[in-house]
Structures are given as structure tokens and as C-alpha cells.
């Protein structure tokens, strides 16, 4: 990589807390992830009715991306996301709706979220992004992959910034870690820094 890249900003969402650049900016004692994310949306004054129609994975990814992109919206921002449970949370919900052949009413609104990359569509619609986006499934957070892919996107001119996101969610277990890779910033885009921010 010829030019240095930086982590411009990062967001963590887990254990009822939302942090931006390591500082806790919202805490909730909501009893479930859906209410927690809804409270978070309202706390930050984000007006977006479609949010309430999303599945929890998309809500998690959407909220995290809002906090990073609201003040630095660039149409040349690519999206690079991954998790380990794919869309299993919604897949299970959908499967339950079609399990009983005598009470068989599959929900179209649930079905559309039975793919993990739908959350990238939600973010792209919100921010009018027409850039590259990819959602990968890994056993665990994989900083090496994120670094290589994000640098390649910028190096080859496919994007000016890359919003990277690990958005893991199944039932009530969730963790989101999103960061914006750019040629501006103070923190170098290195594996050591990414791992440090991911674990803190």
C-alpha cells in the first residue's frame, strides 16, 4: 500500500452499551436486543421509520453505520461486513412460520431478511451508496481479511473510504464493531489497532 490508511472512527455495540471511539455514548438496561436498538435509535434522534421493519441484524448494522456515517457521508464509501451467524436469527424465525402445515403463513416481510447482506442494502439505501458491498461469513472476527480487502478496494480506486463491520447477532447475543477506513485520521490502519479496538 503506497499511501497510509487510517481508522477514522469506530463504533462498538455490545452488552447494552454503544461506544464511539472508545467512549460510551449510550447505555440501556432494555431486556432484549430489539428494545435496546430501538432505544439507541431514539437516543441519537435518528428519524427513519423503515428501521422498525428491519430484522435485528439489520437494525444492529444500520445503527452502527449511522453513528459513523452521519457526519462523514461520502458517496464513495464501500461496505465490507462479516459475521459468524449469517442471518440465522431471522432464518429460525422464518422457519418457525412455515413449520406447521396447518398454520402455514410465511411472512414476506420476514423472508426478505433471510440473507445477511440485506443489511448492506439498508445502509446503501439510507446513504445513497452505489459502491461495492460484500458480506462474508467467518468463524470469528478476522482482521487480516478486513485489512487486505479494504486496502484493495481503496488501492484499486473502487472506493475512497471503506466502512468495515463485524455485526454478529443470534437471539440475544450480539456484538457490533464497525470502523471507517480512510486516508484521513490519526490511528493507523493496522491489525494491532483493529484488534485493540475490537476487544476494548
Amino acid at each position: 500500500m503506497e499511501n497510509k490508511l487510517y481508522i477514522k472512527s469506530y463504533v462498538s455495540i455490545e452488552n447494552g452499551q454503544i461506544s464511539i471511539d472508545g467512549n460510551v455514548v449510550f447505555e440501556s438496561s432494555a431486556s432484549n436486543v430489539s428494545d435496546f436498538l430501538k432505544e439507541g435509535l431514539r437516543h441519537f434522534g435518528i428519524q427513519y421509520p423503515k428501521f422498525f421493519k428491519m430484522d435485528n441484524l439489520s437494525k444492529l448494522a444500520f445503527l452502527g453505520s449511522e453513528l459513523l456515517l452521519k457526519d462523514q457521508d461520502s458517496p464513495e464509501t464501500a461496505l465490507l461486513f462479516a459475521n459468524s451467524s449469517s442471518s440465522l436469527d431471522t432464518d429460525v424465525t422464518y422457519q418457525e412460520s412455515i413449520a406447521d402445515k396447518d398454520n402455514y403463513f410465511p411472512s414476506p416481510a420476514v423472508f426478505v431478511y433471510t440473507l445477511p447482506n440485506i443489511c448492506l442494502g439498508e445502509i446503501s439505501i439510507r446513504h445513497q451508496l452505489k459502491t461495492e458491498n460484500s458480506f462474508f461469513i467467518f468463524g470469528a472476527f478476522n482482521p487480516d481479511f478486513f485489512i487486505g480487502y479494504a486496502e484493495n478496494l481503496i488501492e484499486t480506486g473502487k472506493a475512497e473510504n471503506v466502512l468495515c463491520g463485524w455485526t454478529e447477532l443470534f437471539k440475544e447475543d450480539y456484538k457490533a464493531f464497525l470502523y471507517l477506513v480512510s486516508d484521513e485520521g490519526k490511528t493507523e490502519h493496522t491489525k494491532q489497532n483493529i484488534e485493540l479496538f475490537y476487544t476494548n
Binding site: 421509520p49 421493519k53 403463513f105 411472512s107 414476506p108 416481510a109 426478505v112
Partner: protein
């Protein structure tokens, strides 16, 4: 018929996750799609499922939905005339 209209408003809000919308916010003549309540194509499919699940009405031609789902008034009239449960 008024009770059915109220029931439809409550079901639509619940099924379509219309957060912050109250039944009293929806007038009987409001357009459900487009500039009215702002519903989209996935919402239309959910309404078709609602008719089947709660009223035993199976729409065989999705194009029928355009007329049926114009407003609460048109939806209630159709349910009243065609319901099997």
C-alpha cells in the same frame, strides 16, 4: 363496519410494524400506499397474508390488491363481502 375498520387499522399497525402510528392517525379514506401511509410492495404482500390468515380470503390475482388496499374503507368493504372467518 366501524368496528371492522378499527380492527383493520390495529392489525395493519401491528403486522407492518408501523412504530409511532396510532389507529386514530389513519383516516378511513387515507391512501394506504404512496403519499398516504407510505406502505411499500412488501407491505402489500403482508396485507395479502393478513387477509388469508385472519379472514380466510385468498387473493388469487395480486392485481386485485391495488383496488382492495386503496384505503381502510375499500379494504373493510372487501373483507365484509368476502370473509370466510
Amino acid at each position: 363496519m366501524e368496528a371492522l375498520k378499527q380492527e383493520l387499522k390495529e392489525k395493519i399497525i401491528a403486522v407492518l410494524n408501523l412504530e409511532d402510528v396510532q389507529p386514530s392517525d389513519i383516516s378511513n379514506t387515507d391512501a394506504l400506499f404512496g403519499d398516504g401511509l407510505g406502505l411499500d410492495s412488501i407491505d402489500a404482500l403482508e396485507l395479502i397474508v393478513l387477509l388469508d390468515k385472519d379472514y380466510g380470503i385468498k387473493l388469487t390475482d395480486p392485481k386485485e390488491g391495488k383496488n382492495i388496499f386503496q384505503s381502510i374503507d375499500t379494504m373493510a368493504a372487501y373483507v365484509e363481502a368476502n370473509r370466510t372467518k
